[in-house]
Symmetry: C2
Subunit: 157 residues, 2 copies
Amino acid sequence: MKCILDPINAETKKRRLEEFQRRCREAGIPVTNQRRIVLEVVLGMHCHPTADQVHASLKVRRARISRATVYRSLESLVLLGVITKACHPGDVVRYDARLEPHHHLVCLECGDVVDIADPEITPPTLPDMSVFGFEVKDCRMQLRGVCRRCRRKEKRR
Amino acid sequence: MKCILDPINAETKKRRLEEFQRRCREAGIPVTNQRRIVLEVVLGMHCHPTADQVHASLKVRRARISRATVYRSLESLVLLGVITKACHPGDVVRYDARLEPHHHLVCLECGDVVDIADPEITPPTLPDMSVFGFEVKDCRMQLRGVCRRCRRKEKRR
DNA sequence: ATACGTGCAAAGCGTTTGCATTTCT
DNA sequence: AGAAATGCAAACGCTTTGCACGTAT
């Protein structure tokens, strides 16, 4: 079984950047260099970076973008629907660049989340929650437990 | 269809408090008044309170427990496995007193999460992720989208 | 008696905001 | 030209921590 997802590939990245520009035009907000670069970096990062991790990753790429702008850019990318906020057990906001349906392994010890694909557990259609006035946009399974690293730590005690 | 879950009932509360005391003894940590009262309050609150909401709720009940102790008590209750950290898209830690399997409606606009039960979408057995060294303890479906209140707000624009 | 928990206040971080300046449309 | 975004630094809010004291085992 292979189900931990690979990084987003070059072709998908290109498509996502085009979609970002299209949505900016639709929403009438400027396509700034900063926003584009932030998106590029997030698409290239491992799963669910924090704003600060994105900022650090920008530094490595020699792109000088202030911390405040990184926060604001990520927020506008969420509003554009180009990325989403990941649901984590911790107290730091994390972002998820993967839009296609997938699931998460959540470690309840360290808060780490890993993307997985497992068609077996995915329901074929989105459940209807309109009785509650709720519009379902996507559906993700969280498999919560303890990751390898944390299990090792536990054994050591 | 009825699937938004009712508050935890009196009988269950009693059982949960007993379990808490038992686990304290097992772990060799003291059963203090503060920890017990914090648990009582969390069991009585609507879904996924923040530490500060718990603290406020304690005030209403005329229980003077310092904010720091509330934070520490909640953390020890998590370690004891008596409550869990809820997985939210926001930047504040939220707690979940419901241990039995259930699912969540997550509003991506306001970050609100509502407990639901829907056996139709619940997989019969926990998927095996031991290939990744991951021990699955529970499995929750997140139906992410927009809640009634936020949809109304959108229409007003 | 001893180890652990509690309360208080201060420190620590992640995040947001006000304002002058720059950039995009 | 006008509207919106950026950078900086300061402010803000949630959470943790150091320390003296209190409490459970």
